[in-house]
């Protein structure tokens, strides 16, 4: 009974997984993109970091939103915007997707695969130190992945690296990963996201130790925390001495705190407060297009939406531009129902032109001219519910009735999670293969559309095991064509990340398509000298 008690304590410490995963996804969603110059007259204009001299020293207060009373510093459970921020600052992975969404080695020196991609060898860079002075070695890498794969730890990244069968230490800096299925994109699998940080073999989340540019100083769940510069960091040593990370529960309260000077920068801004911030000469406003998104999901296995003609009708009839303009105040890019926007494999040639007449005729063909469906939504991220409402409105133009049923987040992610006939999910910017493995592959853990298509699956197996770009590109194109024709997603927009900082701070990233670049490059932020 005691053991069960303790075990469940741990479980409870990692509970609300989906609830906070969406908070996390929303943070990533809202934190990706490339940097457009902040542009209001009288507003702070952002200048490229290369041309601005930054001084060393000082501290900043960086406002975070979200999190809960049991956010922890555990490297492998970044579930909400707060813990994702901390994970990105304290810990590092073998590799990451950088601002341009390309693979960039961090702790790894080199990835190499065998001929059929059933085994990958990773060589580490030498001389990288943890915050406690210990040098990173193959043992730490193996221990980290073992920890991730242990179901008792409920690590967020476990599904992403589920192809790992066993790991072997070849020498002090080299690890061989033997996979249970051929995976040509293993290097991406260990780089996407922020949940696969490398920690020491004797890691204890209560005393967080990583290799990141910031060292843990203090953290009070739901309230605030502080990090300080890690002077022996292997990359560019941070300019600021320390950063405090106060947690503010309400977006407008956080904006007010920024406007009144109580904090120096915020991680999120709502589209409606952009104008106020832009017109303030003491603040610099950033609008970063990114690859995160909120998708409406239609179950393809039952109900009215099981008919691909009906799904097509909705996909053709939705007014995407209206959603961009109304739900996101123009701070978004139009989506075409395909994910992995910035992946080289993204099928940018597949574009939906809105055609109300075709939508109506598709519904007539399907015998559902008086279609009546209910979409269950929640404000998982600013604009989610508004997007659904705009969609419902645009559906009346082709004769369909879409009722928007807004529930609270706990209900959406509760017992019916992934079972709703018509609902929504929020996803971070991810590479194509990671996204498919999480959403539509047979092993997917978030298959909200209940997608199960033999042709698609066999193409996926080819893509997954391919080691050459040509095969991968061709098959991925075919897969996306299938999705485009009969998939269950309506992805109307890719919202930009909006954030702001005091005009005295510079060095923020110039390109940040992944939601995590801002977090990871805080070592380059400093006071303008």
């Amino acid at each position: 009974m005691n053991d069960l008690h303790l075990e469940s304590r741990e479980h409870r410490g990692l509970t609300r997984r989906q609830l906070l995963q969406y908070g996390g996804a929303s943070a990533l969603l809202l934190a990706g993109g490339s940097w457009l110059a902040g542009c209001a007259p009288g507003g702070g204009t952002s200048t490229a970091s290369a041309t601005v001299a930054l001084t060393r020293g000082g501290t900043m207060a960086y406002g975070l939103i979200g999190g809960s009373a049991f956010s922890s510093m555990d490297a492998h459970t970044p579930l909400d915007p707060v813990t994702i921020q901390w994970a990105g600052m304290l810990y590092e992975q073998l590799a990451v997707l950088n601002g341009s969404f390309e693979l960039e080695n961090v702790l790894a020196e080199e990835f190499s695969a065998n001929a059929d991609a059933t085994s990958w060898t990773v060589r580490l860079k030498s001389g990288i130190e943890f915050h406690n002075g210990k040098t990173v070695s193959a043992d730490d890498v193996i221990a980290s992945f073992t920890r991730v794969l242990d179901p008792a730890n409920r690590a967020v990244g476990a599904g992403q690296v589920s192809m790992i069968e066993s790991m072997t230490k070849l020498d002090d800096l080299t690890v061989r990963f033997d996979l249970n299925r051929p995976t040509g994109w293993f290097d991406i699998a260990v780089s996407d996201g922020t949940a696969l940080g490398i920690v020491p073999a004797d890691y204890d989340p209560a005393d967080p130790v990583g290799t990141g540019p910031w060292k843990y100083k203090s953290f009070t769940a739901g309230v605030t925390g502080e990090v300080e510069r890690f002077d022996d960091y292997h990359g560019q040593i941070a300019l600021l001495d320390s950063i405090t990370l106060p947690i503010i529960s309400d977006l407008s309260a956080m904006t007010n705190a920024l406007l009144s000077g109580q904090i120096d920068a915020v991680s999120q801004l709502s589209p409606s407060s952009a104008a106020t911030v832009q017109s303030n000469p003491d603040l610099t406003f950033y609008d970063l297009p990114g690859g995160g998104y909120s998708a409406m999901t239609m179950r393809v296995d039952e109900g009215d939406l099981a008919d691909p003609l009906v799904r097509q009708a909705l996909q053709v009839g939705v007014d995407r531009q209206a959603i961009v303009d109304s739900a996101y105040n123009g701070y978004a890019q139009v989506g075409n129902d395909l994910y992995a926007l910035y992946d080289p494999l993204y099928a940018s040639d597949l574009v939906r032109e809105r055609d109300v007449d075709q939508a109506r005729s598709l519904l007539k063909q399907a015998g559902k001219s008086d279609l009546n469906v209910t979409i269950t939504v929640s404000e998982l991220t600013p604009g989610s519910v508004a997007a659904a409402q705009v969609f419902a409105q645009s559906a009346t133009e082709f004769g369909a009735t879409v009722q928007v049923d807004e529930v609270d987040v706990a209900t959406l992610l509760g017992a019916n999670y992934l079972q709703w006939p018509f609902s929504q999910i929020v996803q971070p910017a991810a590479r194509y293969t990671t996204a498919v493995s999480a959403l539509d592959a047979p092993t997917a853990s978030s298959n909200a559309t209940h997608w199960d298509d033999d042709e698609y699956t066999s193409l996926w197996e080819t893509v997954s095991s391919a080691t050459d770009d040509a095969t991968r590109t061709q098959c991925a194109a075919d897969m996306q064509q299938i999705m485009f024709e009969r998939g269950g997603y309506i992805i109307p927009a890719f919202p930009d990340t909006l954030f702001a900082s005091s005009s005295k701070l510079g060095g923020w990233p110039t390109v940040a398509r992944s939601g995590l670049t801002v977090t990871r490059t805080m070592n380059e932020v400093g006071y303008i000298g």
């Binding site: 069960l4 009373a69 309260a253 406007l259």
Partner: protein
């Protein structure tokens, strides 16, 4: 005290003294009355406890499933269910919880496993501080305004009072809050902080400036309501026969106002003030959200959203207890102010 004041409420003139029981018996009666009210309060709380327990039990969703998420295996859900004691019949769970509450043990949070009381206590303290400050500001201000407006009914002051309280009362709290923040914090003047975050372990009183805007926002909702109550009651009292009599006797207007009319006008205002204060315990969600103030209201909303049942039940009990206590205080004050009630 004259007879006239002692029989303030009756329109007819009383001849001679009413029958008064001996002082000791009167005190005994008062004590019995107070005890009776306390007992009623306890019974009320018990009723609230049962109702909230049943209501939360009826909420959709299996709590253990909700906590572990849909990826959990049925075994894990069953294990957590039985560990949280959710398998037992409702009566058993209810009695277990009531038993705990009776000795002050509110149990542990479903989510964090921490003691519910340990988590709630600082937030309750924050809310009480805000309530106390609001009370200190609002109640005297309401009385002063109400009396001032009642002195010259339908005059220019009364007109201005009426108009401004109408406007304030019709503005939602968050609108007033945002306007105040814009005025004093972000846009026009920059003299006050925009948020009132409280670091763990510290008291909000250590940052007094940050409490100004929340209290002002609260005052903007409470003062219009209370001051109108006071004004109406004062007008009623000032129009009654005994006041006419007092004036005819030649008593100075100030004495008439403060000694005679006010004492009788206070009763509805006391009741209104008590209700307002009790409401503040759990009703400050908007203010807490806008100013990032960690109080009980936002804790309540958060616990509902997270389905953290022990915390939710504990907070509801605290709010109910608050209503009982404040109503008791109001009744005691009413009796203190209205002597006839003491002998009834």
């Amino acid at each position: 005290m004259t007879n006239l004041t002692g029989t303030a409420r009756t329109p007819t003139v009383v001849v001679g003294r009413p029958d008064r029981p001996r002082p000791a018996a009167a005190r005994g009666r008062l004590l019995r009355w107070a005890l009776g009210r306390l007992l009623l309060g306890v019974v009320t709380l018990l009723g609230v406890a049962v109702v909230i327990f049943i209501a939360v039990d009826l909420l959709p969703g299996d709590v253990a499933q909700l906590i572990l998420g849909s990826q959990a295996t049925p075994d894990q859900v069953a294990a957590l269910s039985s560990q949280l004691g959710l398998d037992d019949p409702m009566i058993v769970r209810l009695l277990r919880w009531l038993g705990g509450v009776a000795v002050g043990d509110f149990g542990e949070s479903y989510l964090t496993g921490d003691s519910v009381w340990a988590w709630i206590a600082p937030r309750l303290a924050n809310t009480l501080i805000l309530m106390a400050l609001a009370g200190i500001v609002c109640i005297p201000a309401s009385f002063a305004l109400g009396i001032w407006a009642a002195r010259h009914p339908r005059g220019p002051i009364d007109g201005a009072f009426h108009a401004s309280t109408m406007v304030l009362a019709s503005l939602p709290q968050f609108v007033v809050g945002i306007l105040l923040v814009m005025l004093f914090s972000t846009s026009m003047l920059r003299v006050l902080p925009a948020t009132a975050s409280v670091t763990q372990g510290t008291s909000p009183l250590q940052q007094p400036l940050s409490l100004v805007l929340p209290v002002l926002t609260l005052a903007a909702s409470v003062v219009p309501y209370l001051s109108n109550l006071v004004r109406a009651a004062m007008l009623d009292a000032l129009g009654s026969d005994y006041v006419v009599m007092a004036r005819l006797k030649g008593l100075p207007p100030r004495l008439v106002l403060w000694r005679h009319a006010l004492r009788n006008a206070m009763v509805p205002a006391i009741q209104g003030a008590a209700l307002s204060m009790a409401f503040m315990l759990g009703g400050l969600v908007v203010i807490e959200s806008l100013f990032n103030y960690p109080g009980l209201g936002s804790a309540l909303v958060q616990s509902i959203g997270e389905r953290d049942v022990p915390i939710l039940q504990a907070i509801v009990m605290i709010i109910a207890a608050g209503f009982v206590v404040f109503n008791l205080i109001a009744d005691v004050l009413t009796v203190a102010v209205t002597p006839t009630l003491r002998t009834r």
